[in-house]
Symmetry: C2
Subunit: 161 residues, 2 copies
């Protein structure tokens, strides 16, 4: 089962290595991970998507709390979050199929961010399933490169956390 864990940490060298080490020692493979600064520059947020049993995750969360640079840990409830991912897709094109691809881009409300003779670079945000549908469609034209940010998520409503 997939779990989304959001961890607030002090923005210091080595914190990420400690946290990712904790997962790997238990044999958990991190599906995606995103680290970025928060509203406070001294604090970073790490969003981790990991596939594991509930029990294993609970153990890892307990151990995360023991790390001194970890400030807060939250397992997000999939039924009450907005989840998003950003993906850049470079797809090969020619004069013939460009219009077709542009149509797909419009339907998915994606954006063209770069155009070259034989390729288009497209930006899309959304849930994992939307992005899968989009890349599956583009795959028929030939995907040159996919670059994903990994998932981030935020609880709905006004809970201050």
């Amino acid at each position: 089962m997939n779990h989304i864990i959001s961890v607030l940490v002090e923005n210091k060298a080595g914190v990420l290595a400690k946290i990712s080490g904790l997962f790997s020692r238990r044999g958990f493979n991190i599906e995606s991970l995103a680290v970025g600064p928060t509203e406070n520059k001294k604090i970073s947020r790490i969003t981790i998507l990991v596939n594991a049993e509930k029990q294993g995750i609970e153990q890892v969360i307990k151990q995360l709390y023991k790390l001194i640079n970890v400030l807060k840990i939250q397992e997000l409830d999939p039924s009450n979050i907005v989840e998003r991912e950003l993906v850049l897709v470079k797809v090969s094109t020619n004069a013939k199929n460009r219009a077709e691809i542009l149509e797909v881009v419009n339907i998915f409300r994606a954006n063209i961010v770069d155009v070259a003779k034989k390729s288009l670079l497209i930006e899309i945000t959304g849930t994992t399933s939307k992005i899968k549908a989009f890349t599956d469609l583009l795959d028929t034209y030939g995907i040159i490169e996919i670059i994903r940010t990994g998932k981030i998520a935020c609880s709905r409503g006004n809970k201050k956390d």
Copy 2:
């Protein structure tokens, strides 16, 4: 100086811990990092934004090549890339200022992804400077939470990499 390093790795437990450990042992603080799957499910891409001297980065890249699960490393040339980041911003609102905030959202081509009584959740993608301008503006209304993916980047044109 900021460097953007794109690393292709085998999608195995422990690879991220090794790589982030390599940076932290040299005292480099990773500003942002994004890990996600690529077009090949066995391979993940890690995009790292790190602030360091050119010499130090060259040393780290050499050491990265020595890790067995690392397949390819690329330092991206800032003058020839498209860089993007996705940010979710939860901002506090009231009946009075909601219209004002919606105006800002439209100007920046951001999207509202959730509405609650006292807050709005906004999704925005763009370069770091665009996102800074946007969050600075929203700060006057009261930002409850910011969640960032970290930067990803793709070279322009049709170079197959």
